[in-house]
């Protein structure tokens, strides 16, 4: 079987959300799967504020040739995985381009600026429309909602990883990801694997 190839080198993936949602977990899983498949991977994370409600992002650079820097240059994202809607738009504003693929979980997490009345959270439907307009292709994955149906919003991460793999935008097989997923989530492996497969199904249906 021939392995899938990178459509571009480096391939630039942004994972974004709010501190505590688990974007570091996702980058760990995807990054390790790529390294095991023989790629150079560099991951840059927003740290420090990551537990405390701030905007967070992981930049992942995937290459067959060399070690890239942990920052994607402005306007150069190939894929944006957004765990929260306005954070997805924030990333598109800076790193988006007409060729970008976006996967978005449309579940808002309100900032204290919004709840405190100092900022407005935009209309969700309009926001999703804008994300679509700014992306070459968009997958809307109700990851939080589906995860809650499975018993905990924590399964949203595995659903989103599934969607990312299922979409085919990464040269990464399901079989490369599953063992890493099991290592990172040693508890509730079954449920996380089920969530992962659910994510794959969502983008393929």
């Amino acid at each position: 079987m021939t392995k899938k190839q990178l459509v571009k080198d480096p391939l630039n993936l942004v994972i974004t959300g709010v501190g505590g949602q688990g974007n570091v977990m996702i980058s760990l899983i995807i990054g390790n799967a790529f390294v095991r498949d023989g790629y150079f991977v560099t991951v840059g994370e927003t740290y420090g504020a990551s537990q405390r409600g701030g905007p967070v992002m992981s930049h992942m650079r995937i290459s067959k040739e060399t070690q890239y820097s942990p920052f994607i240059p402005d306007g150069c994202a190939d894929i944006i995985l957004g765990m929260e809607p306005v954070e997805t738009l924030r990333m598109l504003g800076r790193y988006g381009n007409p060729g970008v693929t976006t996967i978005i979980n449309p579940r808002p997490i309100y900032s204290i600026d919004v709840t405190g009345g100092h900022a407005e959270y935009p209309d969700l439907d309009k926001l999703v429309e804008t994300v679509k307009e700014l992306s070459a292709q968009t997958w809307i994955i109700n990851a939080t909602e589906e995860a809650q149906k499975m018993g905990s919003h924590m399964f949203a991460n595995a659903i989103l990883i599934g969607a990312l793999i299922g979409s085919g935008v990464l040269p990464l097989d399901k079989k490369s990801v599953e063992p890493v997923l099991c290592e990172v989530f040693p508890k509730e492996i079954e449920a996380n694997l089920a969530a992962f497969n659910k994510g794959i199904k969502f983008v393929r249906s």
């Binding site: 409600g53 070690q67 942990p70 954070e87 924030r90 598109l92 988006g96 709840t115």
Partner: protein
């Protein structure tokens, strides 16, 4: 997730820079490691501590950076390779010892200090550059340019440190320390350490490592000899290299993560045949001959580095002694304004600097798209300020402090320092904290304020400090306050972990870095033994905490201690289920009509509470809420309901 101890030479692993450094230390046959946690350095000791028992080494979280470095030196004197790791602020704490350690020299075991700097102060109170300290104190200094080098350099540095008999330093920055990349593993040594403090003076050694009586100036002379030897080694080091054409239009001189940014920028601009990069890995003493060889390559030289113009100034010193640079090149960098004089860099900034120097235009994306994307993001993306986590005990503590100060009515002042609780400078802690400097400084500043009664000062003074910070740097300030009878309350926010840096244990937790149970150093027993009045409060009990603080503010006498004891919510949530299921009773919440000014969502600001615009009532976000139930006591209508789970 990373297994730094994996015995699989030749395989590639995805490591953060800190894990790569820890692995390098293991490959070097380290026996002893000590550190105090501090972002972005914490995972070096953190990952070593996890595998210490298995690998037959010793690792500890020391009480502070100075003790960590001194303990590591102790191991070196007994012939054991040792490492101390810290963030940039820690270098200040340890600097007094360092200034003497360079004079004495180290022992037979190689001694390495790792400093992780935080450009842009992402998780720090300052963005201090520690490279100049190596120059100031005559310490050989290296800095890795990627993850592989982080491992390889660390290993190599132990050999160098041992050969020279002097402390060697490795500096890293956030985007190496906390970024992840490929690391190809080397062999792990199987050697057993035999520790022995050899007390016989070795008089034949011209660079003595023992404590023979000798004038300090003579030791200084020997230290310079060691530096010369280091420079000779650095001239040939593969960690310094040039990449690019023979006669580039522009020569970049760079180090550390900026080496990665420079390569990205040159690729993005498609200038690989026009721009050369001189990447330096050994930063002090600089390899002068190696640099000289490349300086004449181009008429334009750009320094790409973060924080201080360390390379820029140091290379200029070399240039001043060069008779042969003709015609003289133009230098660009922080002095010329092409590179920011503060904050962290990124590939965009380097692209911009190169484009300006070479008068090029760069367009990464379609202009129409770019303008639209920027505009919609700007007008639609709300601010997202940092705040305490849902269920954080600090929010409750600062609520109680706020209310006690209001009730007292004398405009009480809160001094603070570094930790999660620094966020109380802003809305998360109701703007209660008014000063923030280094660890323990809040208590020190309070000592001064508390002695101003004779000048008419009557404001109550509260110094807030974290539990780990209490042990690290606050005890002398408390003793001073009791001895000199300074009137302030030391409020210890005891969440039973070094929470900001990743929940490391400290002397109050009863657990060592290697997971062994140990004696609990009780902060209340310690404070009481000093003669202080000590009260222990549960901050989730807002009413009694507020009353205690109010009563302590009214009392006369010297320094007192109030301990706010509640486990960090993130630690609790990992072990236990939610204590309460919390919801808002939509019948009881009367929204804006209440007159409370939306106390729960506008003032208390727990991210678990949100405002439902459609219904005009508060609501609990079940994804965020950690079920602490404190907000129940904040709502004047009793509309927030908690049910035990």
């Amino acid at each position: 997730m990373a297994n730094i101890e994996i015995d699989a030479p030749g395989t590639s692993q995805l490591f953060i820079g800190n894990e790569a450094i820890a692995r390098g230390a293991l490959e070097a046959g380290i026996g002893f490691a000590a550190a105090y946690p501090g972002t972005p350095s914490s995972e070096i000791l953190g990952s070593l501590a996890q595998i210490a028992k298995k690998m037959g080494i010793y690792a500890e979280w020391s009480i502070n950076e100075k003790v960590a470095m001194e303990a590591a030196a102790g191991a070196s004197y007994a012939g054991v390779r040792a490492l101390a790791a810290m963030k940039q602020n820690g270098i200040n704490v340890v600097s007094d010892f360092l200034a003497n350690l360079v004079m004495s020299g180290t022992g037979k075991g190689g001694l390495v200090l790792v400093s992780c700097d935080d450009p842009s102060a992402i998780s720090s109170s300052n963005e201090q550059d520690t490279r100049p300290i190596a120059k100031w104190l005559d310490i050989p200094l290296v800095e890795p340019g990627d993850f592989q080098e982080a491992k390889d350099m660390t290993k190599w540095l132990f050999d160098l440190a041992e050969e020279l008999g002097t402390l060697c330093m490795l500096r890293s920055v956030t985007r190496i320390a906390h970024a992840r990349g490929n690391v190809k593993l080397g062999e792990l040594p199987g050697k057993q350490h035999k520790a022995y403090f050899d007390q016989i003076h070795d008089l034949k050694n011209v660079m003595p490592t023992k404590f023979m009586p000798m004038p300090s100036s003579l030791r200084h002379f020997f230290l310079h000899m060691k530096l010369d030897k280091a420079r000779d080694k650095f001239e040939l080091s593969p960690f310094n290299r040039y990449v690019g054409p023979d006669k580039p239009d522009l020569l970049i001189i760079t180090c550390g993560s900026c080496w990665l940014y420079s390569q990205d920028a040159v690729k993005a601009l498609d200038l690989e045949d026009k721009v050369g990069i001189l990447k330096l890995g050994t930063l002090w003493p600089l390899p002068e001959k190696f640099i000289n060889k490349h300086l004449g390559k181009s008429q334009k030289i750009l320094f790409v580095e973060e924080i201080d113009p360390f390379l820029e100034r140091s290379v200029m010193e070399i240039v001043a002694n060069l008779p042969s640079l003709s015609p003289h090149p133009t230098f660009y960098g922080k002095r010329s304004g092409h590179i920011n004089a503060y904050g962290e860099l990124n590939p965009n900034m380097v692209i911009k600097a190169i484009s300006t120097v070479l008068e090029l235009t760069y367009q990464p994306r379609d202009v129409v798209y770019g303008n639209k994307a920027e505009a919609v993001a700007k007008s639609n993306v709300p601010e997202r300020s940092m705040t305490f986590c849902a269920g954080c005990p600090h929010r409750a503590t600062f609520w109680a402090i706020r209310n006690a100060i209001k009730l007292d009515g004398r405009d009480g002042v809160v001094t603070g320092d570094i930790g999660c609780y620094s966020m109380a400078l802003g809305p998360a802690g109701f703007f209660q904290v008014r000063t923030m400097h280094c660890m323990g400084a809040g208590a020190g500043v309070a000592n001064g304020l508390g002695k101003l009664g004779q000048f008419g000062f009557d404001q109550p003074v509260l110094a807030v400090v974290g539990d780990s910070t209490f042990y690290h740097a606050t005890i002398p300030a408390l003793i001073n306050g009791i001895y000199n009878q300074s009137k302030f309350i030391l409020v210890i926010l005891d969440n039973s972990a070094t929470a900001m840096t990743g929940f490391q244990p400290h002397p109050g937790t009863g657990m060592t870095a290697m997971g062994e149970p140990t004696k609990v150093i009780s902060m209340e027993a310690l404070c009481r033994s000093l003669g202080a009045r000590v009260e222990v409060c549960d901050p989730f009990d807002l009413e009694s905490t507020t009353a205690t603080l109010l009563e302590m503010m009214a009392e006369g006498g010297g320094a007192k201690v109030a301990i706010m004891r509640r486990q960090c919510e993130l630690v609790r949530a990992k072990k236990e289920k939610l204590p309460y299921k919390v919801h808002v009773d939509a019948e009881k919440c009367i929204g804006e009509a209440c007159g409370c000014d939306r106390l729960c969502t506008r003032i208390f600001l727990c991210p678990g509470l949100i405002w439902d615009k459609k219904t005009g009532k508060s609501k609990v976000d079940e994804v965020i809420c950690n079920g602490c139930g404190v907000c129940v006591d904040v709502c004047p209508q009793g509309a927030i309901i908690k049910e035990a789970t």
